[in-house]
């Protein structure tokens, strides 16, 4: 990865880019709470994401979904077990990864153009080239004409597009998304999901997508992982065999197969959600 420009060539469907495989084996993460009591966030999580696969993780609040993502990115170190990306054990920041959070993670003091440019600039791409790339990406996400605006001057959906362009501009092998559309209204969310699918089908990075929204998980992904809470473990894994390209997410929701899959997965998830709710309600009472 000594080379300066992000030029991983998008992988056509059907071809595997072995560097993009994520293998999580018996991953356990323990924290010390502020009082000094050890707390197990996730225990023995094992999970494989094939290269170019779109994998969603669904689970009740506090089941360690975000913790799992942090281990894959290398921002955090596992207590035991291992994470491998492309056959290499993750130690330090993983190369070729982009992150998208629920908050936009845009620089409030940088213009839209500068925000999108930051990826190539950090890799040492010359400014001119980075700017050309960024303009191209802004065109792809429909933000041409807004290059000089600051993030606070954009709507929520536009900020999301900007963050998406910033995450994808380096053509990552792996895209980690932590409830990226959680804070959007229903209509904007559907539009953003369709756009994400379009861009993903062009670039085919491996995606780990955290969400609370089962519909979203089924509509977008190839595989849905259900996690249980306290400590987080993998409960069930479902393969989603809806054909691709999936097109508009809104119309997809009414298809027979979608409803079947959604119902089946909800059966598995419901117990977990109820259990998690009872536990927090018990704490509150």
């Amino acid at each position: 990865m000594g080379d300066n420009t992000p030029k991983r060539i998008p992988v056509p469907p059907g071809v595997t880019d072995e560097g993009a495989r994520i293998e999580i084996v018996d991953l356990t993460k323990r924290f010390l709470t502020p009082k000094g009591v050890p707390f197990t966030a996730i225990r023995d999580v094992s999970l494989t994401v094939e290269p170019g696969q779109f994998c969603a993780i669904v689970g009740p609040t506090g089941c360690g979904k975000s913790t799992t993502l942090a281990q894959v990115s290398g921002l955090d170190k596992p207590s035991s077990g291992s994470v491998q990306v492309g056959g290499h054990i993750v130690d330090g920041i993983t190369n070729g990864v982009s992150y998208m959070f629920q908050s936009d993670s845009l620089f409030p003091w940088k213009s839209v153009l500068q925000n999108v440019m930051i990826g190539p600039v950090l890799l040492g791409t010359p400014k001119k080239r980075a700017e050309t790339l960024a303009r191209d990406w802004l065109r792809r996400v429909g933000l041409t004409g807004f290059e000089d605006r600051y993030p606070h001057q954009l709507s929520g959906g536009m900020r999301k597009r900007c963050a998406m362009a910033a995450a994808l501009i380096n053509n990552p092998r792996i895209l980690l998304m932590d409830e990226p559309f959680g804070a959007l209204d229903v209509q904007t969310k559907a539009i953003m999901q369709t756009e994400l699918l379009g861009l993903w089908e062009e670039l085919r990075p491996s995606v780990l997508f955290i969400t609370h929204d089962l519909d979203e998980a089924v509509a977008l992904s190839d595989r849905v992982v259900i996690m249980t809470s306290g400590p987080g473990t993998v409960k069930d894994i479902f393969d989603i065999d809806l054909p691709r390209p999936r097109g508009d997410v809104q119309t997809l929701r009414h298809e027979q197969r979608f409803i079947e899959l959604q119902t089946k997965i909800w059966e598995s998830l419901r117990d977990e959600v109820t259990r998690a709710y009872e536990r927090t309600a018990g704490v509150a009472a």
């Binding site: 992150y99 993670s105 003091w109 930051i118 950090l122 380096n170 980690l176």
Partner: protein
């Protein structure tokens, strides 16, 4: 009321430029009436300001004229004006007033410069490194608890009556004001943003350049306003403690001659200078922080 009208006027005009000639009549009407309301409110603000000045200065003049308070101890606006004129036409016992002012300005400016640079560097270093901050925090607290004016005496004993000890005292005062803000600013950095650029492959230096420093800049610039006041205080106090030139020296000499009018005249001179510097800092603030939503800077305009 005016603050309520202004934002609406802004939105109205922006909307108009974009939609063009869709509703020219109502649009231009709205614009011109908003502009009139704005001009009216600005005029009223200035009328109010003038009234306050007339009330305070006039009252002072009147009371001293009527001998309700003694002009010998408290000065009198007309006599302050006279001593201002004397200072600028006849000069002082130590040379022209411009010489004195230039010395004080130099001390304040250098103190401000070195103090704020040191404060920013130390604040960012300690703010981003927990080990360093743990090691140094008791010493910083101790240093901060020293009445720093006393340091002036030490500096003058150690470094003599020249310009250097004044710069040092001004710098020390500025340092702490800037340091604590820079430190806090670094601590308040959005951790999501840091995580994001680290994943994109940023080195620690790049994290500092792209995230930590710009983010702390809001805090640092806010502190520069107070810090500049401290620079002036430091320079003046050090001059009062012992100097061969400077406004502070004139103040201490006038104090010895029971001449409050010249002391007040010196205050006026320094106030004019500080207002000018304050204006420059505000310009800097506006250009560095132009990305901020307008609502916030309006609230901070005072």
């Amino acid at each position: 009321m005016s603050t309520l009208i202004q934002p609406h006027a802004g939105i109205g005009s922006a909307g108009k430029t974009r939609t063009g000639s869709s509703a020219p009549d109502s649009g231009s009407d709205l614009q011109s009436s908003a502009r009139r309301a704005r001009t009216r409110s600005i005029i009223w603000v200035w009328v109010g300001r003038a009234a306050v000045a007339v009330f305070v200065i006039g009252g002072w003049q009147l009371f001293t004229e009527l001998k309700w308070i003694d002009p010998f101890f408290y000065g009198q606006p007309s006599q302050i004006w006279d001593s201002l004129v004397t200072l600028f036409t006849k000069g002082t016992a130590f040379g022209s007033i411009w010489d004195q002012l230039w010395v004080t300005v130099q001390e304040a400016l250098f103190g401000f410069l070195f103090g704020s640079i040191a404060g920013v560097i130390a604040g960012i270093l300690l703010g981003s490194n927990r080990y360093l901050s743990n090691v140094f925090s008791p010493y910083i607290k101790i240093a901060n608890s020293i009445p720093r004016i006393v340091l002036g005496s030490i500096f003058i004993v150690a470094f003599g009556l020249g310009i250097f000890p004044k710069i040092l005292l001004a710098g020390v005062l500025v340092f702490f004001a800037v340091f604590f803000n820079a430190f806090q600013g670094v601590r308040e950095v959005d951790q999501g943003l840091v995580a994001n650029v680290r994943v994109l492959g940023a080195s620690p230096l790049q994290v500092a350049r792209h995230v930590t420093i710009p983010s702390a800049m809001t805090w640092i610039i806010a502190s520069l306003h107070t810090a500049f006041g401290f620079a002036i205080i430091g320079a003046l106090v050090a001059e009062v403690l012992g100097a061969q030139k400077g406004i502070g020296l004139i103040i201490s000499q006038s104090q010895g001659r029971f001449d409050p009018n010249t002391v007040f005249a010196c205050m006026v001179i320094m106030a004019v200078f500080t207002l000018g510097a304050e204006y420059l800092i505000t310009l800097l603030e506006k250009s560095v922080l132009k990305w901020r939503p307008p609502v916030r800077s309006e609230a901070q305009s005072i």
